[in-house]
Amino acid sequence: MAEELLETPLASLHRELGGRMVPFAGYAMPVQYAPGIMAEHLHCRAAAALFDVSHMGQAELVGEGAAAALETLTPADVQGLKPGRQRYGLLLNAEGGIIDDFMVANLGDRLFLVVNASRKHIDLPLIEAALPAGVRLRAMPDRALIALQGPGAVAAIAGLFPGIDALSFMGVWQGDGMVVSRSGYTGEDGVEISVPADAAEALARRLLALPGVLPAGLGARDSLRLEAGLCLYGNDIDETTSPVEANLVWSMGKRRRMEWNFPGAARIRDELDNGVKRLRVGIRPEGRQPARQHTVVHAGGEAVGEITSGGFGPSVNGPVAMGYVARPHAADGTPLELMVRGKALAASVAPLPFHPHRYAR
């Protein structure tokens, strides 16, 4: 018997909208609505799409020294994060492997965290255990998270909440009980809105009533983030991959790379000084056939890596993938063969993202 699936505060709205519900990280989530993944993906790139991401973990860190405490678990520069700003970071284990990726926002009197649904039961106890007296972690299961993404997203929501359009990329706005950041997981401009659970459905309905806004499911969210070259925890990064191998060194603060006082610092310093054995890269199959996760990657007849995310990119109008390859084969343009159902599919290393980011600057 399968475990009972959890629901988000928008579950009944998804059903009303014709969402096809599937299990994801313990939740019943819409993978798509009637128009389908392709149409939802393209609509997000052309106008605006609303995603329910309430399954993700939300939490607050309150108290003197909260930023320093979080820095004991991540190489991100949290203490240098200014009020009203958000940043991407990685939680690391003692071996420098990635426990999770997360967003942290400085709300002035506290830090606001968003972590992956599949990892929140690991992350929150880990953070809690790292806190000194006087710093408190408060999980917020009573909040929903809604992403509004696409070139029309910010203009649309600014009609309801003036001021949001003044945010730059990774800026944070607070009002009406909401925390709104100009960020997302699609490569497009847009916002992510944390809202009390009991106000979530009304807000979603107001947003869906705005011109150009349509709902999109997890299927489009996955194809959008893959074209944008963004990692999915559990696919592209996990406890065995380091930030250097994952090509996420940019998420490590400059100060932190002088202090070396974060978990796994010795491995990461060694990898930065002496290079890595494998690297996460974009991979573009030739032709039309997609290559999926766990496809073995060959070069010159020899196994050199594996695809960690792969599928069809509706905006690219062709197959796209990312994965890890041995360092000598990681340069852009390097020819590869992908072993799909016993046949070698020609491909090459390609720069990420596959579709240009269009963040607000």
Partner: protein
């Protein structure tokens, strides 16, 4: 008359040749089809043998031979326009034709039985 398999293929037999495609239920479950790999003419297949692959944005699925025989033709038009499988699954979206070897399997269903089967899933 159309017959249906539990693997969601349809079969139409005319003059000893079975035309095979996937059902409307199957194309709807798959979503937008972006790629199809079709069997070569001349390949001999047995009942239930995986002989074609259909890929949507999200996933890859095998298509099985619902009857035994020799593949005599594949629908080459699908290679350039795989979305035809979503738009007209029981018509222009056919996959391949098989010259029948022997009788049709007993467990192929008629339209009503297939509808009840889908309902029961």
């Amino acid at each position: 008359m159309l017959k249906f398999s539990k693997d969601h293929e349809w079969v139409r037999v005319e003059g000893g040749i079975a035309t095979v495609g996937i059902t409307d239920h199957a194309q709807n479950a798959l979503g937008d089809v972006v790629f199809v790999d079709l069997p070569e003419a001349g390949r001999v297949v047995s009942v239930g043998e995986a002989c074609s692959v259909v890929e949507s944005v999200k996933a890859a699925s095998d298509v099985y031979a619902p009857v035994a025989g020799k593949v005599v033709e594949s629908n080459a038009a699908l290679v350039d326009n795989p979305a035809t499988i979503n738009q007209d699954p029981a018509g222009e979206g056919w996959f391949f034709k098989i010259e029948l070897d022997g009788a049709l399997p007993d467990d192929l269903m008629d339209a009503d039985a297939y509808a009840r089967f889908v309902e029961s899933l």
